[in-house]
Amino acid sequence: MNRALLYKELRQHGIWLALLAALSCFVFLVIVIATGADGSSGGVFFGIRQGLSYFLTIPIFVICHLLVAMEFRRHTRLFLEGLPLPHWRMIAIKACLALFLAALMAGGAVMTGVIASAGSEAINGRFLGILLTSAITWAWFLTALFFLISFLGRYKVVILLALIFGLSWINYATAVPLRDFPPFALLSRFGFERDLWPVEDLQMTGLIALGLFAAAFLLGLAREGSVAAILGETMSYREKMLLGAAVAILFTAVMIWFTPQPEPFALPGAVEEEYDGVRVHLSPEDTTRPVDDDVALAAYLARRLAEKRDWLGIPKEEFPPVYVVERQGLVNEEIDWEEVEGDRVVLMYAGYRDAGFTRDTLVAFSMSVALSVHSHRRVDKEHRWWIVCGIEGLIEMEHADETTRLAREKSAYDTVKEHGFTVEKLLGRNLYSEEAGWREADAVAWMAFRYLTETVGEEKVQALARKTITRRVTRQDSRPVWRELFAPVPRVFESTTGLTLEAFVEGARDYIITHPGAAAPGADAPGAPKTEEVKP
């Protein structure tokens, strides 16, 4: 009876099966020839591996479709069920035939490679054994998978698409190393590993294939009128639409909510100081010099940052750790910074031992970058950044000596005289920085905040900062954008300080004009080049 069933399959699908087997051999032959001619690949078995991975899925899918799905589509399954035969035997014959053909194609592919390599591959018994077992086990896995999928009838395409997209997404967007897991591991070093048998991968792939076959038998043994009947019917247009939408929504949602793992960050050689929850790490460029100065600076930085953090009302546990790497040669007190994917840390590069780069400058810049990190770069938007720069100026100049203060006053005075100071320039800070230089624009922001503090008092300035630049922002949360749209900075400014932005700018301009300051001794005369780089 087994023979009769086998003949039935061969009579029904013989032409296709023969054609597919021949076509597969032909394709592998061409792949082998092409790979031999291609000087950029790793030999014939590299080509065979590509063929096994991408091409072999097609003939095996078609074979399973012919042997299983066609019985449903043409309802010939009903005739088979009428025969005095156990149902499992019919399915088993189909499975065996599919497995035989798959093994034939995969084994044929390897043997084609062996013959075509013509001595340019060192073939021995072990190597050939590894190649054959890996290829055939992989082919059997594919057979088991498509055998099961063929029983899914109307949902076959949807599940196949979901499988393809899902695996592609896992492979490209997640950290899961698919190629290390069976069955994919069988092919990851195919043709290049000649000594070690992939025993574990072979066993696991075999188990997976067995599981898939068991599921396929479970579905296949269900009687007509039940699961099989439902699966066998054509999908309605509405059903297609709903499924399409569901898959699309699921895919979008997974893509959006997928969060890559945070990267741990540390500077092993850095000096580390901690004060009231603020951790500061300083990494000096010259590793041979004593670090006493750096330890003192880190301690100062931590203490001052903690003080200013509390003033800004940022909770202790939310304040990011600060890493400062010394980089000499950054001119004009410029700093540089890098983003650390997933980890909220301040990573800043500064020539903090250069002349003119005071420790308060370092505190002020660290606080600005910390606010940027804390707010997920939201404060970098220019209609908010001027507030950060104003606060930064207040921090930087808090303990500055008279000469420095006068020099900054002069810088602000010269800038306002030359470039003016309007609400547009205040809110359009990027352009203002480009025109006047970022250090000069900073000086204006500092003077404006000095004026604000003197006019409305420190409490209101503090309240303004707390309302606009200190809110913690997380990924995948667009509320800050909506908040900024419905409560723009000018409105918040007015409600907090009691001043309109226009009145504030006008007052600040007059204030700056009345504080012309004085150039620092030895500094260049007016007309010195502006600072060119825009601060991050």
Partner: protein, 653 residues
């Protein structure tokens, strides 16, 4: 007219579920973006123009979904007979269906574009350049053109029923093959290249007139073909198509068609694979043929040493004996330096010297396998000790050991690690297997590149941009210098420690960019910033050391391009008297790319011609926007020219 309105309405009703689905997806997308993204930092240029490939792919997918059942469903479900009973021509029915489908696709694309424009306006700052309305307009028109084009073409193919997607796939592969072979004008047939924005936002986006014309003609032909097929009445055709589906001859014909497609595709694949053309392919086939008894020189010989399995042709037997005598010591040297675990030292590495290699390629390394070639004999520079072959083997062996020690982890993050792979291999090669001249040449190369501000570690770790914006080969000297810094800062065992850290079992997987190196250095107990700092200092010191030697080589950052007959002529802005200070043997050359993301295989090289210009064949440069890069050959013996930045220009007629 009324009847036509009625059929339009009927088609709308028919497509309404899909339209509703699309609209629902649009609203869902809108909601997702506005709930989870900072949509006020979504500039149109970066967000849409920077992802044109995805936009076009999405348009194609939508066109597939709409078109494949649009016409044929009426025939397959028999409803066309009812429509024939109405006072309407087949032309009206076809036109109505086509119009509704076009309206649907165009509407959804317009909605998406509009959404992006709104985000762009919200993202603008005071220093933002003016809104590129012209570019946005051209993009929108081209996108809509593509919607109509895809739809029209796919409708024509839809009459092939279940073979339609196979036919479309075949055309895709054929086009891909033709483009890979760089067949002239093949690019004009590729709809996926229609929307090619200028490299910079400020540049003027020229209409791809020629491609639009070609695609319009194809579109019209497809439309008419589709209409003609749709107009054919039932009868003989149905019998034929049933026969195709069910009779043995139909299956056989279908099978033959598949074979034909496969043959065509693989034929193209083979042709593309042969780098040196058919002649070279014949020569290789000749080589691969089993050796006749009288021609034993070509026979492949297998020889074993303690650590290697060599495959080579008998004709290089003498040279191989020299190399093989050195092979095991090479193995030990590299294995000791990289601290290859003892348990891994038992397996033999296969070294294949019998197979052909790609042009200008000295060797390639894979998991436990090396493919390499001994350099051709040069009478001027005799090399009886096979020093060159030894250096290549040492270099490739380093690659193999990197993979072994890291358990293949760097393959997963190859984009972030290419510079390190090549850098470490070059370091080992120069340190153990060559004299100082190799390292000096690399140092001078990287000094000049650094002088032009091309060497920045944060850029090296993203190979796809580093290679397209700079010279892909710059990864070798830059990586070499970084590894040198690593050894200077942390000692001789630092590379081995770093490799072990990269390959540690509990380490994170598939890290990219800087993250990979931060993590690896941290795990190895190194401070990445110290190495970076030393790297920067070395670059500065090298620039000072070679300042005089490199002074005659300015970076060329401007120029023009014009079309003259069948050539594109590049005129770079060279400084006055640039030739006066050049050392003996130094020279200049130019390479040209058709677009910013063109692969190196599409670049064309030219030597300096008359009037200080360079000329390349015009055929691969059919679109007006191109880029060129000027390279300096530092002396006659320099192995690789040093290239400056890419200069984007518009070709004038």
């Amino acid at each position: 007219m009324r009847a036509f309105r009625a059929i339009l309405w009927k088609e709308w009703i028919s497509l309404r579920p899909f339209a509703l689905l699309l609209f629902a997806l649009f609203v869902f997308g809108l909601f997702m973006v506005q709930a989870t993204e900072y949509f006020d930092v979504y500039p149109f240029w970066e967000n849409i123009i920077g992802n044109v490939g995805s936009v076009v792919a999405m348009t194609f997918i939508l066109a597939v979904v709409v078109s494949l059942g649009l016409m044929v469903r009426e025939k397959d479900e028999g409803t066309l007979l009812y429509l024939d009973g109405l006072p309407l021509s087949r032309f009206s029915i076809y036109l109505a269906k086509w119009l509704i489908a076009v309206a649907l696709l165009v509407s959804i694309n317009l909605l998406w574009t509009l959404e992006s424009i709104v985000y762009d306006l919200l993202s603008r700052g005071s220093a933002s350049p003016p809104v590129p309305w012209r570019s946005i307009g051209i993009f929108t028109v081209l996108e809509l053109f593509l919607s109509v084009y895809f739809l029209t073409i796919l409708i024509a193919f839809s009459f092939l029923r279940r073979w339609a997607l196979i036919a479309v796939g075949a055309i895709f592969w054929i086009l891909f093959g033709l483009k890979s072979m760089q067949v002239p004008y093949a690019g004009l047939l590729d709809p996926f290249t229609l929307i090619e924005a200028p490299a910079e936002m400020g540049e003027r986006w020229e209409w791809p007139r020629l491609q639009l014309l070609v695609m319009s003609v194809i579109g019209v032909i497809a439309w008419v073909t589709g209409y003609l097929i749709f107009s054919i009445r039932q009868g003989a055709v149905s019998a034929f198509s049933r026969g195709m589906r069910e009779a043995w001859w139909g299956k056989l014909a279908g099978g033959c068609a598949i074979v034909l497609v496969a043959v065509m595709w693989l034929g193209i694949f083979v042709a593309v694979s042969w780098e040196e053309g058919i002649e070279a392919a014949r020569a290789e086939a000749e080589k691969a043929r089993p050796a006749a008894p009288e021609d034993r020189k070509k026979e492949i010989v297998t020889r074993e040493s303690g650590h290697f399995l060599f495959l080579y042709r008998r004709q290089i037997k003498r040279r191989m004996e020299t190399l093989m005598a050195e092979a095991d010591p090479i193995y030990e040297t590299v294995a000791d330096f990289l601290e290859l675990p003892t348990e891994r030292r038992g397996d033999r590495i296969t070294v294949d010297l019998s197979s052909p290699l790609a042009a200008h390629n000295a060797g390639q390394a894979y998991w436990k396998k090396i493919r390499m070639a001994l350099p051709a004999r040069d009478k001027k520079k005799p090399d009886p000790e096979e020093r060159e072959g030894i250096a290549i083997l040492g270099h490739e062996l380093t690659h193999v050991f990197i993979d072994q020690i890291t358990d293949g982890r760097l393959e997963e993050s190859f984009d972030a690690a290419r510079w390190f792979h090549e850098g470490l291999a070059s370091y080992v090669e120069f340190r153990f297997f060559r004299d100082d001249s190799g390292a000096t040449s690399y140092r001078r190369w990287v000094a000049l590149a650094a002088k032009w501000e091309e060497v920045e570690f944060s850029e090296m770790v993203v190979n796809r941009t580093f290679s397209t914006e700079r010279d892909p080969f710059l990864a070798y000297p830059a990586g070499y210098l970084w590894v040198d810094s690593l050894v200077r800062v942390y000692g001789d065992d630092a590379p081995a420690k770093l490799l072990r850290a990269l390959g540690r079992e509990d380490g994170p997987r598939k890290l990219s960019g800087l993250a990979l190196w931060r993590d690896a250095c941290l795990a190895a107990g190194f401070d990445l910033e110290r190495v970076r700092s030393d790297f920067r200092n070395q670059l500065t010191a090298l620039q000072e050391e070679f300042a005089e030697a490199l002074a005659p080589f300015p970076e060329i950052t401007a120029g023009t391009a014009s079309r003259r007959g069948n050539k594109v002529v590049i005129r770079p802005e060279l400084p006055d008297g640039w030739q006066a200070g050049l050392p003996e043997g130094a020279g200049i050359l130019c390479r040209v790319r058709p677009r910013a993301d063109a692969s190196p295989g599409e670049w064309r090289y030219s030597k300096l011609g008359e009037d200080e210009t360079f000329a390349v064949p015009a055929l691969p440069f059919l679109k007006p926007g191109i880029g060129f890069q000027i390279g300096w050959q530092l002396d006659g013996g320099s192995s690789h020219p040093v290239f400056g930045e890419w200069v984007n220009v518009t070709v004038t007629e």
